[in-house]
Every structure is written in structure tokens, then in C-alpha cells.
């Protein structure tokens, strides 16, 4: 009995570790920015390039900042979810057009619909670097004080919106 107990327990420990390893997504790197102030920027707007979009305009509101691009396939997958969320009026979603062509971005939005009240343009990807973006789409939940409370890496899906984003937004609104 004892002869088998030790190898068996080692085997179980190894299986548990491998199991945990399988469930981890190597593409989801925890962001050091959660809990920190959202980096400031001042970017021209997509539809009105003469105007700027800055997080300072959003002080006192809970909002989402969504990095997207017309060349990004994950953004197309995510798009209906953003449209539904925008329609529900739960939380405003502001866009950041990441390393994109202005005309292509505008065509994309007129073709698929525009969930954003304002879209900023980050053509050089510098705002993206300041936010630790390494693959669009990425979405940040920012609270009334301008602090990042959550980062979604990859497309938002209806389940994440319902179970994470909306409860978090409600909780932040109540503060």
C-alpha cells in the first residue's frame, strides 16, 4: 500500500499543476495599471480632427475606453457586443482607434455602426503603449476619479459584459 501511495500522490500533484497550467491563458498578462490612474492623453478625434479627446473630459463619470482598429478581426467579433452595451445605456464606451487609417476607420464605423460617442485617434500607438495595450481589442473600465478598475484583454463577450462589466460599473457608479 505504502509503496503506491507516494508515487500516486506525486502523480496527483503533477496532474493538478498541469491542469492549472492548461487553464491559464498565456495571452492574458495581468496589467500593472489596474488600480492606477488612467494615463493622460490628448488625441485628435476621429470625426472632428480639430477637436481633442482627453480622459480629463471624463472626470466624474464611469466609462469604458475601448482600443480598436478597422484591421483587427477580434474587433469585428466584439462589435455587436459593444453596440448592445451602448444601446443599453449602462455605460458610455469611448473608442481609441489604434494604429489605423482614418478613412478606413470611418468606413468601418459607418458600415457596422458606431457605439462610441467620441473616438480618439492613436495613429502612432503611443497611447496604446501608455495603457499597456499589446493586442486590440482591449477595454478599460475607468472610474469617476479616473482610476483604471478593470482591463479586458481581447474581445468582450456578452457573458463578460453581464457578469463583470455591468456589475462593476454599477458598483463604481454607487461610489
Amino acid at each position: 500500500m505504502n509503496r503506491f501511495l507516494l508515487p500516486l500522490s506525486i502523480f496527483i500533484v503533477v496532474v493538478v499543476f498541469l491542469g492549472i497550467g492548461l487553464k491559464l491563458n498565456p495571452r492574458e498578462i495581468p496589467s500593472p495599471l489596474v488600480g492606477k490612474a488612467a494615463p493622460d492623453f490628448s488625441q485628435p478625434q476621429l470625426f472632428e480632427p480639430a477637436k481633442v479627446f482627453s480622459p480629463a473630459d471624463m472626470k466624474g463619470k464611469v466609462w469604458l475606453l475601448n482600443f480598436w482598429a478597422s484591421w483587427c478581426s477580434g474587433c469585428k467579433t466584439e462589435h455587436p457586443v459593444l453596440m448592445d452595451l451602448a444601446k443599453s445605456g449602462e455605460v458610455p464606451i469611448y473608442g481609441m482607434d489604434y494604429k489605423d487609417q482614418r478613412d478606413e476607420a470611418m468606413t468601418w464605423l459607418s458600415r457596422w455602426g458606431n457605439p462610441y460617442p467620441v473616438v480618439g485617434v492613436d495613429d502612432a500607438g503611443r497611447v496604446g503603449i501608455n495603457y499597456g495595450v499589446y493586442g486590440v481589442p482591449e477595454t478599460y473600465v475607468i472610474d469617476k476619479q479616473g482610476v483604471i478598475q478593470y482591463k479586458q484583454i481581447g474581445p468582450l463577450d456578452p457573458e463578460t459584459v453581464e457578469k463583470k462589466i455591468i456589475p462593476l460599473v454599477k458598483q463604481l457608479e454607487a461610489q
Partner: protein, 156 residues
């Protein structure tokens, strides 16, 4: 394995050198290029995670090299540049993660395994040594051994 698979593998092997392009030269000034290279091999590209920032052709890696190049031009120290990147992307950008509470297992784990393994080995060897006991040989057995050795094991 059918012929299509073999063909696919052959094609993949042959096409390797075609897509494995060199990363573009990093900076014009040789001194800052050397510094950038020195830094970039320590930093991980976040898009293709097993490549360094120096090796990667991903657009983000190009942007980050540009960012690092600008910081070098501003005379920032290596430590300041690394802090800039870890503040945004976390310790994951570093190929040598720092020793802190969250990385203890990573750093101590291998030594722990060696200690556990060595202890198990020593215990097993000791136990086995204890099991080998000297058995006294009687006169009769001794004679029998002599007999077997000289007669080549013939049955009496």
C-alpha cells in the same frame, strides 16, 4: 501518415528561410544601437511571447523599439527604461523576472525540487543499506559452495 501530410511538412521546412526575415536595424547611431540591442534582448515581445523585443517583427515590438530608442536619446538610464516598460506591461516584459513575493516559487522552486529529490534519494539508499544483513555461513554450506565451484555445479 498520408502523402498530403508529408508534402505539407516538406513545404513548411523548405519555406522556413523565406519568412524568417531579419529584424530591421535598430538605430542609426552605433552607440545607441548597441544600447538598444543590449536592452532589447532582455525584453520580451508581448505579441509573440517567445521572442525578444530585438528579434520580433511584430508592429508592437517595432513601436516599443522606437519608444526605447527615444528614451535612449533622452539619456535615460537602463533602469528608468525598464521601469517605464514594467509600469505598463508588468514583469512579464522582463526575461529575467525580479525576485519578489509573487515570483518566489519561480526562483526557489527548482532548488526546492533538488532538495526534495536528494533527500528522497538519501532516505531510499539508507533504507536499502539497512536491509542488507550479514548471514553467517555454516560449515556445511561452506563445503557445498567449495564443491559447487570445483565441480561446476554438477548435481550430486
Amino acid at each position: 501518415m498520408n502523402i498530403q501530410w508529408i508534402a505539407l511538412i516538406v513545404v513548411l521546412f523548405l519555406s522556413g528561410p523565406v519568412w524568417a526575415g531579419e529584424a530591421r536595424p535598430l538605430a542609426d547611431d552605433p552607440a545607441s544601437e548597441a544600447r538598444l540591442k543590449h536592452l532589447a534582448v532582455e525584453l520580451r515581445c508581448l505579441v509573440c511571447q517567445n521572442q525578444t523585443l530585438a528579434d520580433s517583427n511584430a508592429p508592437l515590438a517595432e513601436d516599443l523599439r522606437r519608444e526605447v530608442r527615444e528614451m535612449i536619446a533622452k539619456n535615460m538610464s537602463d533602469q528608468e527604461i525598464i521601469e517605464f516598460l514594467t509600469a505598463r506591461y508588468g514583469d512579464f516584459v522582463l526575461y529575467r523576472p525580479p525576485l519578489k513575493a509573487t515570483t518566489t516559487l519561480l526562483w526557489v522552486g527548482p532548488f526546492l525540487l533538488v532538495i526534495v529529490g536528494a533527500t528522497a534519494l538519501i532516505i531510499t539508499l539508507r533504507r536499502r543499506a539497512g536491509k542488507v544483513v550479514d548471514v553467517p555461513v555454516t560449515e556445511d554450506e561452506h563445503r557445498r559452495v567449495e564443491q559447487l565451484l570445483t565441480e561446476g555445479g554438477k548435481r550430486p
